[in-house]
Symmetry: C2
Subunit: 336 residues, 2 copies
């Protein structure tokens, strides 16, 4: 596969695409890219408070928004005739899963079974690209982490997200549906939820920096490999375009791993040196579910698709701050 | 640890023990053993049709039966003061999970979260021994299968059972509860469900042999390592007695692996040569979820507890047939 491959507009023109969680951070990013590529896009989103879904995220994308909850909506009419489904809807807050594991399971597993059943009826041949997570590997037993790393969920969210992914893989193995699962590392960029740290810790950092307030760095020595929105979107598009991906799970990383203390410094630098942070001990309830350092081994996905990340961290942070600077207030309010 | 260790009556005398799924095959076997060891035993069972739970299974055990469904009952009063919980309640039919994955998930995962929450309230220090399964390893990538084997569920049941086990392991890691999970191979013996093959294929074989009818052998070359009830019960008791087991998952095997064709011949021999079987191709819907050959590597559990299986297959089959021969009719009716 050619290295540094781009999504192919000829593949996407006229394709009927459904994006679950389509008004959220990654989902809306996909909708914008798909619109630009000429696809006909329907976003499904429940616009649940605190989950990152916002109507405004889809403005200018050309996507149709269907407000529906995968846990209870009649999904078949929305899915009818879909060629490709990007399955981005999820409860992804780790702390949230510990506080309410029932909703976490209902969204990440039970609702996935509903979607699987509806797709059998409405779009039996549709390709599914599922948004999965590195979370269920737990504390890395070796770095970088490849797909054969043991699954040792550190929290209830890791359990439910693994179950949801594996339901899709069973659907592939038993019923032959083309399914690809991408196990994401921390993703950031425009339309990230920044009201709080529910989507990722960088969200609240960005908010604090733009508000001129100090942000909190918990620990600081743990390593992470952040992926910029545009690179993640390209990965999902290429996964759908590449028949050889069907039936496989892939790790997806980003730029080179770095310590969070260095990331904090880079964020301040990307804000023109304006901003500061204070280093804190982990709160005990977060320490209990923290995974320590992580870095993805995504060589399998690169080899299968020709994908490579293009946006270095300093540039991605600068672009993200530039996006939010004039839009801070609306992003601090919940979905509407 | 001493090899060939026995459960210690001094440990069990007066212990307050709760057995979920306590009127089922393995659950009732535990209740009988616990009663003999002097424990005070409460069995919780929903007596759901087709699941193997029968009031009559507990006759003579001394256990109190609480008819309750883990998906909806108020569990805290039943669990109050428990020292040890044997968590045997599950939906275990592979084909059943494909036909109704929602019930399968509700019983094997959502209900486990309810049990976890109720135990925090009612018995914060209770030891939990969880009945897990080799099923989620899927088709063995190497034999025998140890606990580091990848998790590749072949069916929806494998997904839900892994989720349920991992919820318990997270509860251990985050909240410190002593939890042991035993990943069982095919188990057989008195009180196995024999009306059909829902609990295991050997159930319907036993029924047919005792009815004087031929039974069906699907395939025949695939290998299995069957575990006799008494050995499985000893394993659960020793797991609870052994503090070093807390926080660990263990495979549990049985007698030496053999091809199912050989097992079929042994069953007929154990019935005094009375009985016959016909070899059939797998039905397509079963072929799609079949795991092929399996044999457990249970050296970790043997090393941790001193457990070893004692009942060879010919003896176990003879004992099982002797149990069912005078009781065939009641075991063909559903729970009551």
């Amino acid at each position: 596969m050619t290295a540094d491959r781009h999504p192919d507009p000829a593949f996407w023109a006229g394709k009927r695409v459904v994006v679950t969680g389509g008004a959220g951070f990654l989902g809306s990013g996909l909708c914008h890219a798909l619109g630009a590529l000429g696809a006909r896009v329907t976003a499904i989103d429940a616009l649940l408070p605190g989950m990152g879904g916002r109507r405004a995220n889809l403005e200018g994308s050309g996507a149709e928004l269907v407000v529906a909850d995968l846990r209870e909506a009649d999904l078949a009419p929305v899915l009818a005739g879909a060629d490709i489904v990007f399955n981005m809807a999820a409860q992804i807050s780790h702390a949230g899963s510990m506080a309410d594991p029932f909703s976490d399971l209902a969204i990440n597993a039970t609702a996935q079974l509903r979607l699987i059943a509806a797709l059998r009826e409405a779009a039996p041949g549709a390709v599914v690209v599922h948004a999965s997570t590195r979370q269920f590997y737990g504390r890395a037993q070796r770095l970088p982490v490849d797909e054969a790393h043991p699954v040792v969920p550190p929290d209830f969210n890791g359990v439910s997200k693994f179950a949801g992914e594996q339901y899709w893989m069973v659907e592939h193995r038993v019923h032959g549906r083309p399914v690809v699962s991408l196990r994401l590392t921390n993703c950031y960029g425009p339309r990230l939820r920044i009201a709080d740290a529910r989507q990722m810790f960088l969200g609240i950092w960005i908010r604090r920096v733009l508000e001129g307030e100090p942000f909190e760095l918990w620990g600081g020595e743990q390593m992470r490999d952040l992926a910029y929105l545009d690179d993640v979107v390209s990965a999902f598009l290429l996964a759908a375009e590449t028949p050889g991906c069907a039936g496989r799970v892939f790790n997806l990383g980003g730029d080179a791993p770095l310590a969070l203390r260095r990331l904090a410094e880079m964020l301040v630098a990307a804000n023109g040196g304006q901003g500061r942070f204070v280093v804190r001990e982990f709160p005990p309830e977060r320490r209990a579910i923290d995974i320590g350092s992580y870095a993805a081994d995504d060589t399998a996905f690169r080899a299968a698709t020709g994908w490579a990340p293009r946006v270095p961290l300093p540039e991605g942070l600068a672009r993200t701050l530039a996006f939010f600077r004039p839009r801070l207030t609306p992003f601090l309010q919940d979905a509407a």
